[in-house]
């Protein structure tokens, strides 16, 4: 599994996201990017970082599901974090087959 999230030093929220999504979705790819720095000073954005995330998840469990139901599944897994910590979440949810067809 490739991930750009090898180190979670000082990134407790990213670490929780990684753990929950890995357990629930058995992803073949998981990329969690903290994009909070792009939203500095934006109203409602906490100053602590770890508020805006982009996540790419590739999982066979998305097979045969619509985009809406895939994202709902992810929202459901992260519902506690969405309530308290995550201000904005950008998702790309793909099946392994879809992900491979993007690589050429």
């Amino acid at each position: 599994m490739s991930t750009s999230t090898d180190s979670f030093f000082n990134r407790p929220t990213a670490e929780i996201i990684n753990k929950k999504l890995s357990e629930a979705l058995k992803p073949t790819e998981l990329d969690i990017q903290d994009q909070s720095h792009l939203h500095k000073g934006h109203s409602g954005a906490p100053k602590t970082g770890e508020s805006h995330f982009y996540i790419l998840i590739v999982s066979p469990l998305f097979e045969g599901k619509t985009r809406v139901s895939r994202q709902k599944h992810v929202f459901d897994i992260l519902k506690d974090e969405l309530k308290e910590k995550i201000h904005a979440l950008s998702l790309k949810t793909l099946t392994p087959e879809e992900f491979n067809s993007l690589k050429f």
Binding site: R67, V68, Q71, K72, F75, A88, L89, K92
Partner: protein, 114 residues
């Protein structure tokens, strides 16, 4: 408004407009990057739509999240159906699926005048 009235109001709005966008701010002054992105896409596609600013009413802001069981804004509805938020609309736009979807629903798109 009571909780039930809010849900009725949302239901009514969604059935009254062929294309309806719940967003933060207005198409002219979007108050959030994700809402702004969807506005730009809808403009590019050339579809007429109605927008509701959730920042103007906290009850609608909470109510729409409950209605769709979707925790974030913006939310796009086409012919009564929840189609997605910013990520999904962007993906559908980039793949050309959004145009096909709108046309399949019999919604007229205005070709950009050259």
């Amino acid at each position: 408004m009571s909780e039930k009235n809010i849900q009725d109001y949302i239901k009514q709005e969604i059935s009254d407009s062929e294309v309806l966008l719940f967003m933060k701010g207005t198409p002219v002054f979007p108050q959030c990057g994700f809402s702004s992105t969807v506005v730009q896409i809808l403009t590019q596609v050339g579809v007429k739509y109605k927008s509701i600013d959730v920042l103007s009413d906290n009850e609608i802001r909470q109510g729409i999240k409950e209605f769709s069981d979707w925790p974030t804004i913006p939310q796009l509805y086409i012919k009564g159906e929840f189609v997605g938020g910013c990520d999904i609309i962007t993906e559908m736009y980039q793949s050309g699926e959004l145009n096909t979807f709108l046309e399949s629903k019999g919604i007229e798109l205005q070709k950009p005048s050259i």
